[in-house]
Subunit: 204 residues, 2 copies
């Protein structure tokens, strides 16, 4: 604990500061560790400052709420690859991407953390906008771009709203995560892609 | 306030009790009013008991958490018709049902309340199971039954998992409610149904 408090002391004494980027990375790392081990309720400015050896004032300056800090920490920590692999086959690419997403939620411990973040966002507008800005919106845009390219190759119909497909695929997974009335599995991910492309009506 | 406290007094004096069903209905009514006017944070055992003129002990006995009470109050209060109209045309019935759901979320004030309930459920296991038991699971089953009947009429393919369709339709709407990166509208609901039935692949 004393060692962690050291940087704060140094700042106070004016004997040199850590570069802001380094402090910021340390704060995010500490917040991410608390988030994944103890859940979102542990991510308070108080505890993160103590854990990171940073001053609470610094945190107040940089983040509008502890929830917003938690969202950015999640984003910084999550190893998930945002790039959409583009093999030229949208069916294969969507299936791979969605299965990887379900694996992340169900096997890699991210599921409860994302669920808590989205949950807390419903009563924390700062967290809500941070989650969108740092996480969900960039992902939506990457998916839309990949599907627009597929449309250019003739793999998706011209009259289909590809942004709607994001909700029909990833949104369906979030639904099973947040309202777990039916299991979230990789085979569910595969079925989502198949139906979003082929439809449930009998083929005429 | 004094008038509302009256029934509690009567119980204490043993001069007759209100029937349990009546007390229960009054508590749910009070909780629903607090939920819709002030949000989920106002639904505490303390305030609901005071508002309903009931004893806090009664509330503790009947509900495992204030969140669980809020969920049941929402369910009791919401006027939405759960019955699936069955005209024999699944495309029309799904479209009507999903558009009505979006109207409820966007125009009738239920959206923020459901969002708060699902949000709070992520850190309240009692609320999570109450939401499922009282609300989401009965709705899922009604949708599944309607789609099974449509399958029997040859309107849905045999190899389609109709439970997955619930997530691909209602789940997509919940996604736009909870992570509002794109607008939730009746035309979105229509596009969801069209794509879930027809698919996004070019028709061969």
């Amino acid at each position: 604990m004393e060692r962690q408090d050291e940087p704060v002391q140094r700042v106070r004494r004016g004997r040199g500061r850590r570069p802001a980027a380094e402090v910021r990375a340390g704060v995010l790392e500490a917040a991410g560790r608390l988030l994944f081990t103890e859940g979102i309720k542990a991510v308070t400015f108080e505890r993160v400052a103590l854990t990171a050896g940073s001053s609470k004032m610094t945190l107040y300056k940089w983040w509008p709420s502890a929830g917003a800090l938690a969202a950015e920490a999640y984003f910084a920590r999550s190893e998930q690859v945002l790039e959409f692999s583009d093999t030229g086959d949208i069916r294969a690419d969507l299936t791979r991407q969605l299965r990887a997403f379900v694996r992340l939620l169900t096997q890699d411990g991210a599921g409860p953390v994302i669920a808590e973040l989205i949950g807390a966002a419903q009563t924390d507008p700062d967290l809500k906008s941070a989650f969108s800005r740092e996480y969900s919106m960039p992902r939506r845009i990457l998916a839309i771009e990949a599907m627009e390219r597929a449309r250019g190759r003739g793999q998706l119909r011209d009259d289909v709203d590809v942004s709607m497909l994001v909700d029909q695929l990833w949104g369906a997974c979030y639904h099973r995560l947040l309202v777990p009335d039916a299991p979230l599995s990789e085979s569910f991910a595969g079925a989502l892609v198949a139906n979003a492309l082929d439809g449930a009506s009998p083929r005429s």
